[in-house]
């Protein structure tokens, strides 16, 4: 039997740091972790070294593999030993060498570099792949349509950069419109400002998670660069990968899906993949240093396709009849859904390939699939649903946003209900739960 290889991966983020151990054996990989620690435990403490060692001990418990000996990471090329790792990768844009002894021996990879490497990898795997990294300090967009560098970084963040949303050019009312409850603007502003002061805190109430969802929608709307999720060739679907704490830690995939539909307004067919373990940067670190190892990792295990979104474009009114879609999941009966304007239709699934036959009003389009005013009566497409299924967004493009009013909140409730978001709490325990 081929011997296993082990790699210690540490990603030092601005607010949170993540420790992973990955085991690779016989074309299979197993990821242990993350052990997650607020980064201020390294920057603010005189015992950074000790905390670092404690984090690795936690990782040892998770993986049942000894990594440390006498407080030092054992790095050994000999695969037969039961202790240690083949290599250790530390990823950071900051220099922690004066605080953590291990850094002096191992060195660091820059976060920017490993992210680029990881994105390039996915861009080759998927046609027209875009990526969003939603961290506490910045919102980064990667897409082929963004010019030579293929990346744009914006200063929006849900943690210590939250204050950026309160600049003069942005309006707090735009965040309010996404809240399913009434709130005084002054209290919303103070909430956002306090997030920048106490960036390590967790949104633990429904109210908090709703506010942060509203913030993320506006950050996406404002920050989305031109060309992001841009045009695709006919018949090609878009792929959007999500990473960063704001997405990876979201307790509800349905909520995440709705945030993306509201904030990005994707057109055509878009597959959403989520990095549930915030492994993206570490994956990039492996790519940067150990390409052969990466080939043995099935990235689908860690970047999960959870939802496919089909968005209908065109000016659409509330309750306007749009036509029908016939869904063939391989069962005897074909399911018909009559599409109404202003609604979202969620169809559960589990990664299967299905056929959708759209019979829409002439004026409407599905980008890359059906043009507006096309005389074609039936448009058949095959899609792969996500692990949670797929949605048909019949609210039109551009999206008419809700107003911060009772009517607006009813609209939000309708969209949330369509994705079972209001009842998600009972189901959120299981990894593969419904929304």
């Amino acid at each position: 039997m081929e011997t296993a290889h082990y790699y210690l991966l540490v990603d030092f983020g601005k607010t949170l740091s993540h420790f992973f151990l990955i085991e690779i054996q016989s074309q299979e990989s197993k990821l242990f972790g993350p052990v997650e620690i607020p980064s201020l435990f390294f920057t603010e403490s005189t015992q950074s070294n000790l905390i670092f060692i404690k984090a690795i001990r936690e990782l040892e418990l998770l993986s049942q593999r000894k990594i440390l000996s006498n407080g030092i990471v054992v790095i050994s090329a000999d695969c037969s030993k039961t202790t240690g790792v083949q290599q250790a990768f530390f990823i950071s844009n900051e220099d922690y060498r004066d605080k953590i002894d291990l850094f002096k021996a191992v060195g660091t990879l820059r976060t920017d570099d490993v992210q680029k490497a990881a994105y390039q990898h996915f861009n080759q795997l998927h046609n027209s792949c875009s990526l969003i990294d939603a961290g506490s300090g910045a919102l980064r967009f990667y897409s082929p349509g963004l010019g030579n560098k293929q990346t744009v970084s914006t200063p929006f963040g849900t943690g210590n950069s939250a204050l950026y949303l309160l600049r003069e050019e942005y309006s707090p009312e735009d965040i309010l419109r996404w809240l399913p409850f009434e709130m005084e603007i002054i209290n919303l502003e103070n909430y956002i400002a306090n997030k920048s002061l106490f960036s390590q805190t967790i949104p633990y109430t429904e109210r908090d998670i709703a506010i942060e969802g509203a913030m993320m929608r506006e950050m996406l709307r404002i920050g989305k660069p031109e060309g992001f999720l841009g045009e695709t060739n006919e018949g090609e679907n878009k792929t959007l990968i999500l990473t960063g704490g704001s997405f990876s830690k979201s307790p509800s995939l349905g909520r995440t899906g709705l945030i993306l539909l509201d904030g990005l307004e994707p057109e055509g067919i878009c597959e959403f993949l989520i990095d549930k373990k915030q492994f993206f940067n570490c994956f990039g670190g492996l790519l940067t240093s150990q390409i052969s190892v990466v080939q043995q990792i099935d990235s689908q295990n860690y970047f999960v396709h959870f939802l496919t979104a089909i968005s209908i474009s065109g000016k659409i009114s509330e309750n306007e009849p749009l036509g029908s879609v016939f869904i063939n999941s391989g069962f005897e009966e074909v399911q018909e859904i009559r599409l109404k304007g202003g609604e979202i239709f969620y169809i559960p699934g589990n990664g299967q390939t299905i056929e959708c036959d759209f019979r829409l009003n002439q004026k409407l389009s599905i980008k890359g699939i059906k043009e507006a005013d096309s005389k074609v009566e039936s448009t058949k497409i095959k899609i792969t649903t996500g692990s949670q299924g797929f949605v048909i967004d019949a609210r039109g493009r551009p999206l008419i946003q809700p107003r911060p009013s009772m009517e607006g909140r009813k609209l939000l409730k309708k969209w949330n209900d369509a994705l079972n978001i209001t009842t998600f709490i009972e189901d959120s325990h299981a990894d593969n739960s419904s929304f």
Partner: protein, 381 residues
């Protein structure tokens, strides 16, 4: 395979010593701690003490000449002349002393019948900055500045012509949000912890003071305080919109003319009672407000032994019985006692699972809250 003993050792570590129970530790306030105060001359001057000297609060430790400011004028516009005629119009030369009422420059027309004059509005030193544009400046006459020690203590370092470092004993109040430069003044309590500071209570008697108390300092209060010559304000909170309207850049280095310090955060937040009690005890005492360090320094009137400053550990493991501050709505800024540190992660209504603790905020109120949303308060006394 490695033995399980290695892992058992980690498991057997006291559960409270696991990483997810590690929390930031803050002081809130400290009593009778050693601190080095830096006393600076506003401009280069002469330092009158040396290392090892013992100071009293009223002792003068440095002197300098300070120009309180300057005013800029455009002579070409005032006299309505072109640049080539300026030198002929000047009566006072650049660098000369002028007094209020002196004619500095004059343009006569129509054989002297009509004249325009530039008369000095203040006492000062006249400087012609740019003869081509007519820009001129009058620098206010320098005044003598005497730097008092302000504290009992020992001089541990002197930077010649500039500053004196004095080690002393102080009471210290820590905040979370500060704006502006370091200032000093006399502490005046203006509101109880729950009250919102009212601008009606402010009058000219507060000139030169650092006002303290209350759960909120509003823009109106800050503006009135500025007009009255108040040096600083320390309160529980400030609304971000008021803060933005005053500190438009949101950069804490920006100074609006007085120093601001919030002990709890943004929004209406009650100042903790024991912090307020400490401030009350020091009402009418000399204080230094340092927004950049987020501190209010209250030099003690008497100092005893000269203990060394100790470095405080900024993290600790959460345990039952600890006093904590809550960092998130709806309890932002509130303090409580840890009743129980949960052994297993808790699922919260947001759907997030996290390490948690049961905290008693009052006799009627207990709440389960993520450990990440807490700070331990360790008062140093």
């Amino acid at each position: 395979m490695p033995t399980t003993a290695h892992f058992e050792k980690t498991k057997k570590e006291q559960p409270e010593q696991r990483l997810h129970y590690l929390v930031p530790s803050i002081i809130g306030f400290s009593h009778n701690v050693t601190k080095t105060i830096i006393r600076k001359l506003p401009q280069k001057g002469k330092i009158l003490v040396g290392e090892g000297d013992i100071t009293e609060p009223s002792a003068i430790i440095g002197v300098s000449q300070v120009s309180p400011g300057f005013r800029v004028f455009n002579l070409l516009e005032i006299l309505d002349i072109s640049a080539d005629k300026l030198s002929a119009c000047l009566i006072k030369s650049s660098g000369s002393k002028v007094f209020k009422g002196d004619v500095i420059a004059e343009e006569k027309k129509y054989f002297g019948i009509v004249s325009r004059q530039f008369i000095s509005p203040i006492d000062g030193i006249f400087e012609l900055l740019n003869p081509n544009t007519g820009q001129a400046m009058i620098r206010f006459m320098p005044v003598s500045f005497r730097l008092a020690a302000g504290v009992h203590g020992e001089v541990i370092k002197v930077v010649q012509e500039k500053e004196v470092h004095i080690r002393t004993k102080v009471d210290l109040v820590e905040g979370v949000l500060g704006s502006g430069i370091e200032r000093e003044g006399i502490l005046r309590i203006i509101a109880t912890p729950r009250e919102v500071i009212s601008f009606i209570n402010l009058d000219k008697s507060f000139m030169g003071t650092v006002i303290a108390g209350g759960s909120l300092m509003s823009k109106e209060v800050i503006q009135k305080a500025l007009a009255l010559g108040v040096r600083g304000i320390i309160s529980g909170g400030i609304n971000i919109r008021d803060y933005k309207s005053l500190v438009s850049s949101l950069n804490p280095l920006e100074d609006v003319g007085l120093s601001l310090l919030a002990t709890e955060g943004y929004g209406l937040s009650e100042m903790p009672q024991d912090v307020f009690t400490l401030l009350e005890k020091n009402d009418n005492c000399f204080v230094i407000i340092n927004p950049q360090a987020k501190e209010l320094i209250i030099p003690l009137l008497e100092t005893k032994d000269r203990a060394k400053e100790s470095e405080r550990e900024k993290l600790c493991y959460l345990k039952k019985g600890m006093q904590v501050r809550l960092l998130s709505f709806p309890y932002l800024g509130r303090e409580g006692i840890v009743i129980e540190v949960k052994k297993e992660p808790v699922y919260f209504s947001s759907g997030i699972e996290a390490a948690a603790a049961l905290v008693e905020i009052s006799k009627e109120t207990q709440t389960v809250i993520p450990i990440r949303n807490l700070e331990v308060i360790s008062r140093l006394t």
